[in-house]
Subunit: 713 residues, 2 copies
């Protein structure tokens, strides 16, 4: 469906940000209309290139010469902004193509979101645009803005009062409203914006394009992204990878985290929703920080933009300072609950603090008392002692309402400015409610200011995760051979396990037999005790029909069990095709894991691992990741399970062979990629993890074919 | 230590709020000094009674006649505010007593928080005050304010600009800073305050007094409380119970929730810290809403004050409405994550919405599109349809930045005012960032406005919990007989279980025997298979020294096991006193619970119940409550366990007898109260819970004596 140009995200988006000449098709004199606003904003904010209002009536629009058609403009504009009625859009896009336009923004609504007719028209717009080598943004979108070059291809209400200051924050949002809200709030916090792009219906340009374009954009140092859906996992992953290679932090607010939110998103965007847990896993893998609320996006985004990637904290240690004991306790609670740690201060540091502020309590949190702000030199002395402490923590200073007091404001600003000069590389953040101009002064020193204790706690935890995420190794996509599988793997566990064994996964020695005599022969060869299980592709729950016999100790028991299992199967599943009975060794001991593969509608084969039995069922204690996963990644997944202590020697048990378990998960994930065309689901349950060095055994496995494969039956 | 007056919390606090006459001892002309500020604030805000500045220099202070001693004032003031140096405080308190003062506020610091000398002086202040029948607030506190009567016994910086408007919110805070911050923020949100009391060192008046006084105060309808420690559990519980009987919601920010926070609080207040989980349980039991941050205190407190107790939501159902699909998804995510539910709308409601707003999506969240605010009548029509819907949910309307637009502001205010008039009992809340005057207008309609989606989600969830908490039955304190126990219960599990059995708890038939022959006799009487366990008060971990033999099937096995166990004990625990061997039936099947009692430093005997083994250990999946607990309460504790499905028929198992388990926990808790003087800890592990109707069996139990009891050994 995509041609070569669209396959690499971000290609061709320069037209939206760096266009030489902009035509506004459907331009209006009325600056409250969609067709009037871009003309007004381009002029008001000083876009340097030619602006061509296009309107069949011609004449002048907002003081500019208007043209009846884009074909009449004196030069060929690189960008066209369309604000024409739905029915006129297709012709306008055709005209843009003929005129050599490079990018088209369709602001108008009434396309795919309005029904099947609109969807067909939208598809036609894209076809025409691609035929002409144009990128198309929208329809039903708020457009794109290059704040640095003052190119405003948008009618966002956030631009009504003023253009945000030019800066390093790039904003990519599917929803124009949420993107506008982000831009406005960033500007209100005094932070500059580089680019804004709202992708709306995403007929052509999508969020992945936006991220990739900003990853390559020299003005942008940090990318904030609000997304609802992902239409192409490969392009999203490629874009995130580009941003990582450019060392640009990406912070994503992915909405639709709950079932109800997903249902709302699906009905809103008409796109398939992938599993939210898989989105989490993908973001983690590519070093993207996922935030859970708009406020967190702003708090972390603001702080990350101030600090930039090279100054993000690499430690979760914080030293907390407040003038009030009560606020210190509140900070300690919030920071610990957000996953931060509170190291103690060195004795020398404590002595120096007491020298500066005799009334101070020198535990962490430091109860610095009102004395700390008596004079700038006292405060500076205390801050210097704290910044010199070898614990290397981030210093968090709570000012509450102090900055509203002119004398205190002077004390704090003088001391903070000096400490930043003397310790430029040590992290320091402030918690303060304002006033805004004092906050701006502190921000200008490169010191982030959080508006509340919870904001500081979640913000700092976010910065730490951002700092750590970028150090993880990149996961490679599957690049191995792609094979079909023998259809037998879907028939019974014996064939499924044989295929897994061929992929390097440990399974017990097993055999399917078709007579009681063969069962006895096989049991002897296996060694007693043995297990017998009915082998049939039509019987999923063997236990329930009496299809399993455990702990058989001798020939007689095996012979009787064979007959009983076959009889049970014939009675309780008369139409099941029976392959016979599986003879396997009776294995005991070890810890049970489960692992499996399923098909995510967005990301394709996804591998899952969790503790077996009740743990997976009640606690939902499982980890997921897009296949393939490396052994390292699988190990991190297993170590991250809540019940991991069960594998790690809890209650005096020997430590389990988690390395072998991780290897099994990695090989399963490769198997799933290799056979993705045929195998939709794989279920390995249980996997017996034996003590360290003794490996694992996959005791049962089940594979489900893709529907293509099923229908071939 | 407490006399009768102090034993009932809140008694005698009228002196701080309704005093006829106030003396300020240590009064100053300098209004920046602690001794100058109360004089200034009393005058500035128009306190109606006589104000007597007291200063040895006499003359006039801030234009008022000053007196050299409180003994010289023309009338006897009921309240005295002390701002004298530490060393002059005791004499000042004595003088207050002689003059017939009813309440003394000691603002000065330098007492218990400064060291042992200060602590001794502080104790002496209290002794003198009590001898004179005076209540003493502080020392080291920010005092008390009656906003309604403009009686300002404080030097809080929050009062510098203005007194908050008079209203129905009472504020009780140990920390003056946090209390002031709360008062200032409430006022900024346009909400009136009735009383403010900051208890500081709590030498006499504590947080419980403050809550109880506000529970009885006619001006106060809702109580916000910030606490760090609790010095007397009985008084706190009595105060919470008073508030509940008066139907006044209590919202508590209890800081020190984490170990690090507790450590900071302990070093800050010098008080013993109880377990945070026990505080949680006590708050839940008495219908108190515990919030986790200052922001949540303000958000929920503000909304609860607007709605008052009689209009709190009783359902967790919400219908969400936004003009933007993206914001609707964000709301859905946040609400569901906060525990709210999103019911669907009736078909008739959907049709009516579409009639009003043809472009609207009528799922929940409702994607109302910008059309909804085209005209007030359109919006009103949609809101009316929503409020008439039979699902009875709380309506949440997101306005984002709309109120900044004058036209939209008009539309919203008109429609909201009409819908409140037509549906006064249906709950409606708004999410909006401002502007403040528009928010105030909406608040004035009795409609809470939350500043953000997360604030609305946690705020609404808090309101629902407040609404639900008040409907729980009150727990009675233990009122039964108080007995000593036979010291034998501490000797071995046999005697411990015998005592529990006498308290109505089911234990297996068991016997301690002192010979192999007796063991065989006992085993036959019990019925095979049996278990043998070494019986010694000196051996805590029987398994580790080979002191347990399971599944013994016949006489020979019992005889051999007896000899082996005794030999093992002599070898591995040569100094242990041996009582012999316990013979018990071998019991299998069922689900294992653990339950126990421990001694909380604040709340006394606390009962705990959880799933057995690995679950308690790794998941910390336990519930706690102050003893005694009723069977109902115990059942709620068990049903609240994460792993409760294990007892409730997970994985096709029969449902376990949770009623019997709850009865066991309730009886354990009564046993603990009855014998609180002697028994410090009880551990029942495991408790076998059999299928429904078959009861439970406590298989092992251990009791630890109180240290008083131990030293009597």
């Amino acid at each position: 469906m995509l041609n070569q140009v669209q396959a690499t995200p971000g290609t061709g988006l320069d037209a939206f940000f760096k266009a030489d000449g902009v035509a506004v098709i459907g331009a209006s004199d009325d600056i409250t209309k969609i067709g009037g606003r871009p003309v007004q904003l381009l002029r008001k904010y000083g876009y340097a290139g030619p602006i061509y209002p296009v309107n069949p009536k011609g004449g002048t629009i907002q003081g500019l010469q208007a043209y009846a058609s884009i074909l009449d403009t004196p030069t060929a504009p690189e960008l066209a902004i369309l604000a024409v009625p739905v029915e006129a859009t297709l012709q306008a896009v055709r005209d843009c193509g003929s005129r050599g336009v490079r990018g088209v923004i369709v602001l108008s609504a009434g396309f795919a979101e309005a029904g099947p007719e609109g969807a067909a028209l939208q598809a036609e717009l894209v076809r025409v645009a691609r035929n002409h080598g144009m990128r198309l943004l929208g329809p039903n979108c708020l457009g794109a803005v290059n704040v640095v070059d003052r190119l405003v291809g948008s009618f966002s209400i956030a631009l009504e009062q003023s253009l945000p200051p030019a800066g390093e924050v790039g904003i990519v949002s599917q929803s124009g409203n949420i993107g506008s809200f982000t831009m406005r709030n960033m500007a209100e916090r005094g932070l500059g914006v580089s680019r804004f792009i709202a992708t709306g219906n995403e007929a052509d340009v999508d969020v992945a394009d936006g991220i990739a374009a900003l990853a390559r954009d020299a003005d942008t140092r940090i990318i904030l992204c609000c997304m609802e859906t992902c239409r192409d996992a490969g392009r999203l992953i490629a874009a995130l990878d580009m941003a990582r290679q450019q060392h640009k932090p990406v912070i994503v607010l992915k909405i639709g985290a709950t079932e109800q939110g997903q249902a709302a998103a699906a009905s809103h965007t008409g796109a398939l929703m992938g599993s939210d847990a898989v989105f989490d896993a993908v973001f983690r893998r590519y070093g993207v920080l996922r935030v859970r609320s708009f406020e967190e996006l702003l708090d972390v985004g603001h702080a990350a933009a101030l600090l930039r990637a090279e100054r993000l904290p690499t430690t979760d240690a914080v030293t907390l300072v407040a003038a009030s004991g009560g606020f210190g306790i509140m900070m300690a609670d919030a920071m610990v609950q957000a996953g931060m740690t509170l190291p103690q201060l060195a004795d020398t540091t404590r002595a120096l603090i007491r020298e500066a502020v005799p009334t101070a309590g020198t535990n962490n949190p430091v109860d610095a008392s009102a004395q700390m702000s008596a004079r700038p030199d006292i405060l500076l002395k205390m801050l210097t002692a704290l910044q010199n402490d070898a614990n290397g923590s981030t210093l968090v200073l709570l000012l509450a309402l102090s900055l509203y007091n002119p004398r205190l404001r002077g004390v704090y600003l003088e001391a903070l400015s000096k400490i930043r000069a003397s310790h430029p590389d040590r992290l320091l953040v402030i918690i303060s409610q304002g006033p805004p101009d004092a906050v701006a002064e502190i921000n200008a020193l490169g010191i982030p200011v959080f508006p509340s204790i919870p904001a500081a706690a979640s913000g700092l935890a976010g910065l730490v995760r951002l700092g750590q995420l970028t150090t993880l190794p990149t996961a490679a996509a599957y690049g191995g051979p792609v094979d079909g599988v023998d259809a037998a793997v879907f028939r019974n566990e014996f064939h499924a396990k044989k295929a897994l064994a061929a992929a390097g996964i440990s399974v017990p020695r097993e055999e399917v037999v078709a007579s009681a005599d063969d069962a006895v022969r096989s049991a002897r060869a296996t060694g007693y005790p043995v297990v017998l299980k009915i082998a049939s592709e039509d019987i999923a729950h063997k236990t329930e029909i009496g299809g399993v016999a455990l702990g058989l100790q001798d020939d007689d028991a095996v012979r009787q069990a064979y007959d009983r299992l076959m009889a049970n199967a014939r009675e309780h599943a008369p139409r099941a095709r029976l392959d016979g009975v599986l003879v396997a060794p009776m294995v005991r001991g070890g810890v049970e894991l489960i692992a499996g593969v399923s098909r995510d509608p967005v990301f394709g084969p996804v591998v899952m691992v969790g503790l077996g039995g009740i743990y997976a069922e009640i606690l939902k204690d499982v980890a997921v990741q897009v296949a393939p996963v490396s052994e390292d990644e699988a190990l991190r997944m297993i170590r991250g399970l809540k019940m991991f202590p069960l594998l790690d020697g809890a209650r005096g048990q020997p430590k389990a062979d988690v390395a072998a378990a991780a290897r099994t998960v990695a090989r399963l994930s490769e198997f799933a990629c290799r056979h993705a065309a045929d195998v939709a689901e794989i279920d390995m349950n249980p996997i017996l993890v034996k003590p360290q060095g003794e490996g694992v055994l996959v005791l049962d496995a089940l594979m489900v074919p893709t529907s293509r494969n099923t229908s071939a039956h």
